[in-house]
Each structure stands twice: as C-alpha cells, then as structure tokens.
C-alpha cells in the first residue's frame, strides 16, 4: 500500500514538472500573429498581406455570405471558409517575393477576380 502511494506521488510530481516545463516553453515562445481576413463576394479584406520571411502567422477567416475558399498554392496552404464558422490556418513564409492567393471555390459570377497577394520580405 505504501509502495503504491509512493508511486502515485512520484507520478503526480512528474506531471507537475512537465506542466511547468510546458508553461516555461509557452512563455518563451513568441505568440504568433493572428491576421483576420473577411471573405465576401468577391473580395478578401484585407487582400494584401505583408509577411516576414520565416515568421509564422495564423490566418483567421470568416465569410460574410456563402462558402468561400482560400488557396495560397506557393505555400501549400488552403482553407474552406464556412458560413458562421471561424477557420484558422498557419502559414510559414518560406520564400521571399510576391505570391498570389485566390478563392478556389466557385462562389458566383465575379469570383474569378477574387484574389489577393502576399508579399514576403527578408
């Protein structure tokens, strides 16, 4: 019985230790910037993103009307943006330059001009 209790205490203390390490890790890691993007027929707002090479960002999408898409093929990042939901994707800019993104869901006439650009600087 005493042995079992000792094992339990060791286990609990290990968990506390791990949690502390996790908290320290989270504290030292810079929080990733969240960029909110609203999609509506047939624009993104904003439709131009300025990013830094190697600095990850979270893109947070909502749609003002119908199902929309977001596709940045150069970064292999895409999302379905469902009405009434918030969709987040992580983008790591791994190259410098100007890159396009687009709505890759056929959401109505005018959709073919629904696009934007990502500028990644060093």
């Amino acid at each position: 019985m005493r042995t079992e209790r000792r094992k339990l205490l060791v286990g609990l203390s290990s968990l506390v230790g791990l949690a502390a390490i996790g908290a320290v890790g989270a504290a030292t890691q810079p929080k990733e910037k969240v960029i909110k993007i609203l999609a509506r027929k047939f624009t993104y707002s904003p439709n131009h993103l300025d990013l830094k090479l190697g600095v990850p960002v979270i893109l947070e999408f909502t749609t003002a009307d119908v199902l929309m898409g977001f596709n940045a093929p150069d970064f292999q990042v895409r999302a379905d943006i469902m009405p009434g939901k918030v969709e987040q994707v992580r983008l790591v800019p791994d190259k410098v330059g100007n890159f396009s993104f687009l709505c890759d869901i056929f959401c109505g006439s005018g959709r073919e001009s629904m696009n934007g650009t990502i500028t990644v600087s060093a």
Binding site: P73, L102, S109
Partner: protein, 298 residues
C-alpha cells in the same frame, strides 16, 4: 509503349496558310486487336464558348460561336462526332438566366451538321447549382461511350464548386477502368486540367491526381480538356494532356502576367487565339493527330 510530342512536326505546321495554329502530336493508342477491329476516324473538340459573355475581350460575342459552327460545317470531311468540353455558357447567379443561356446555346449548337454531339459542363455551367440546370438540357455530367475501338470517358470536375471529382465519381471511374484491358485505347474528356497546371489561377482539379493514378495502369490514355482558353500540351508519365483553345476570349499563358485577365481583342487580328481542333485518331498507325483551326474557316 512510349508517347512523344513531335516538336519538329509541331513547328513545321505552325502558321501555315489559313491555319492560324496547327500541331501534330503522337500518342500511341492502338494495339493489334484494336487495329483489326477499329477504323481511323476523327472528331472535333470545341471548348469554352461562354455563351452569354459580354465585354471588350470579344466585341463579336454573339457571333463567334456561330462562326465556329459554320467553320465546322464547312469541313470537307465531316467528323464522326463533336465534343464540347465545357463552359458552354458564361456564369450567371440567376438560375432563370442560366437556363436561358443553356437553351440558346443548345439551339445554336443544333445547327451543326453532325448530329452526334457530346456535351460536358464547365464550372460556369454547373458549379453554382451542382450541375442541375446542365442536366436538364444535356443529361448526365459524366458518362462513357465507345467509338471504333476507342473508349471515351467524360469526367466531371466542375459540378462540385470545390473543383473536386469526388469519391463517388472516382469509384465509378475505377469500376469502369476495371472493365478495360491494360492496353485499351482510352480518351478522357474533361473541363479542368487533371494535373496542377497553374493552381494560382485555379487551373487544376483538387483531386485530379487520384484520377491520374487510376488511369496510370492503362498504357494508352490521352486527355482532352478546356478551361484555360489556349492550346497546351503536357505529359504526366505516359499520359498526354491536351488543352484546346476557347471560343470567346483567349487567356494568357500560365503565370505570364500578374492576373489571368483575358487577352485584349486585337482589331488587327480579330478572333486571334480562338478556335477549335480536330482530333484525327489514326488507330492503325497508333497516332492521334491534332489540328487547330481558327474560328473564321479552315
């Protein structure tokens, strides 16, 4: 078997006489059994007429399709059949207007002398209502048919607005291919490219690679598609993919400009970049020969 694009032939034929652009491609399509059973034949591919479009890229928006049909009707030897590979109409958010455009398009297409005409949807026809209106006028959006030893598969990669073929249709494709010999002559008709031609401009099919994987075990496969409003040729392994010109406005070469806006109408060269192709299936010599024609006569 190998497939190759004969660049020397391609360049030799470009710009001859009244033909604005011509190309010859070799695709090995036959085997001994088919050669005995099949005859040579040709069919015509028309694509992307976008009936209902209005704007500066084509000041003759109401006349171009009719000119193309007159040019096809004027061919000295009529094709065995004709295929339209999608975007029969230009998109509209109004379901009633969509049906009016489809009806008008069907009426104009009925002027073709050849009555064996196969229709396929593009995203402009089908993506906003999952192909409902298209099916009212032209029937199923994916189907197969056989002609003189060649198995044709029309794949729908537009009725799902996400540019997906979808698992159900892929299973249908798999079951159909299971009935074909590995050396069967197979032609796939589709609207969007099955491969990632230029996803930045939505020139892709999200699950197109799955269809290509299913086709890969078959040695003699050729894909004809539209969507990009220009001639384009690409090999994925041994499978040849040929995009056709459109019939309303040409689009720029992939990635050649920041946006995929239509190329401007050139009054000095009206209808430039618009046209159709004939596909000469020389089954006995194991070749497809493609010839591109301008709208205004051959």
């Amino acid at each position: 078997m190998s497939q190759s694009i004969d660049r020397r032939e391609f360049l030799k034929l470009a710009g001859l006489g009244g033909i604005v652009f011509a190309s010859t491609l070799r695709s090995r399509i036959a085997n001994a059994a088919d050669a005995q059973a099949a005859d040579d034949f040709y069919f015509v591919q028309l694509s992307d007429p976008h009936w209902g479009f209005q704007g500066p890229p084509n000041p003759d928006a109401k006349g171009t399709l009719k000119k193309a049909i007159a040019a096809v009707n004027g061919l000295s030897d009529q094709p065995d059949f004709i295929v339209f590979t999608g975007d029969l109409t230009h998109t509209t958010d109004d379901p009633k207007e969509r049906r009016q455009r489809l009806a008008q398009f069907r009426e104009i297409a009925s002027e073709l002398k050849v009555k064996d005409v196969r229709f396929m949807p593009g995203e402009h026809d089908a993506s906003l209502d999952h192909g409902e209106a298209f099916q009212e006028f032209f029937g199923p959006t994916h189907y197969t048919f056989d002609h003189k030893g060649v198995h044709f598969i029309a794949l729908d990669n537009v009725s799902d607005p996400r540019a997906l073929i979808g698992d159900e249709q892929l299973q249908w494709l798999s079951a159909d291919l299971a009935k074909q010999r590995p050396d069967a002559n197979i032609v796939v008709l589709t609207h969007r490219p099955l491969f990632d031609l230029y996803p930045q401009w939505d020139w892709a099919t999200r699950d197109g690679a799955k269809a290509i994987d299913l086709l890969m075990p078959h040695r003699n496969v050729t894909v004809f598609y539209g969507h990009i409003h220009q001639e384009h040729h690409k090999m994925t392994g041994h499978i040849a993919h040929h995009a056709a010109m459109g019939l309303m406005f040409p689009l720029p070469a992939p990635g050649s400009q920041p946006k995929r806006d239509p190329l401007p109408w050139d009054p000095e060269h009206p209808y430039r970049g618009l046209g159709f192709r004939d596909v000469d299936a020389e089954v006995k010599t194991s070749e497809f020969k493609l010839t591109e024609f301008p709208v205004k006569g051959a």
